[in-house]
């Protein structure tokens, strides 16, 4: 089946690879601020994670064709990619916020407060930038975006669940709060190194 071999398998591998092996938080160290800041309760972590998935996928879908335009020989402005991405992501977050505020109050209640925080989440810019730096086509860019953002959601949710358990555990006074959270994140990063090589 050529379709499976040439499209589905690489697509699935790209998603698994960017989700687990090359995790955006634990391997590439992007998006640490929301990872530590909004992970005290699983409900907040889930809200932030879903909002990040939404924005990363949308930003990748919009920025990929923009880069193709900038890289055209007639335009020849590929060096402007980063500044264009920053402005596009910032505007996109505001546009999504406007849309949600106007048409979906329930979504606004669960995601609305996290949307402005995502403007400054470097994971979004990092994914969009890596899509173009690696010269991925549109389908693989979307696979990278979906995998990376779901990886962020997965890690922030697991981390929040661990932090809830840590709250009730007997932690030494000097380690309470962010200190033990950082130690936990380091152990999680070490655990994720164990997945290296899984997807070939």
């Amino acid at each position: 089946m050529p379709f499976i071999d040439t499209f589905l398998v690489p697509f699935a591998l790209a998603i698994i690879s960017s989700m687990l092996i090359d995790n955006v938080v634990l391997s590439r160290f992007y998006g640490i601020c929301p990872f530590l800041g909004v992970s005290k309760k699983p409900q907040s972590a889930l809200g932030m994670g879903v909002a990040v998935v939404f924005v990363i996928v949308l930003a990748s879908a919009i920025c990929w064709p923009i880069y193709q335009l900038l890289a055209l020989p007639e335009v020849n402005l590929p060096y402007m990619d980063t500044v264009v991405y920053i402005l596009v992501i910032a505007s996109l977050v505001q546009l999504v916020g406007i849309f949600i505020k106007k048409y979906s109050p329930s979504l606004y209640k669960s995601l609305g407060i996290y949307l402005p925080l995502i403007t400054t989440n470097c994971a979004v810019l990092g994914v969009v930038q890596s899509n173009t730096d690696q010269g991925l086509n549109f389908a693989m860019s979307m696979a990278n975006a979906v995998g990376t953002s779901v990886g962020f959601l997965f890690v922030i949710f697991v981390f929040s669940c661990i932090r809830v358990r840590l709250e009730s555990s007997d932690t030494p006074k000097a380690f309470k709060g962010v200190a033990i959270a950082l130690v936990t994140a380091a152990i999680m990063a070490l655990a994720f190194i164990g997945l290296t090589g899984m997807a070939g």
């Binding site: 929301p34 402007m80 500044v83 402005l87 505001q94 505020k101 407060i113 925080l117």
Partner: protein
């Protein structure tokens, strides 16, 4: 020529951001959700006191 195009693109994107930011700020929140904010208890990561999401009304 290309420098002019680059400047125009940046100005257009900055203008787009300013317009969307102002529209988002001025648009009223849905009924009953006017004071939905990130609580200080749930957001202690960056300790940024000037963050508009953490400010009290």
């Amino acid at each position: 020529m290309m420098l002019a195009v680059a400047i125009i693109i940046i100005i257009a994107l900055v203008a787009l951001f300013i317009v969307t930011f102002l529209v988002y700020k001025k648009m009223p929140a849905p009924k009953g959700m006017e004071k939905v904010r990130v609580s200080e208890e749930n957001c202690k990561g960056c300790e940024n006191d000037s963050c508009s999401l953490r400010k009290d009304e």
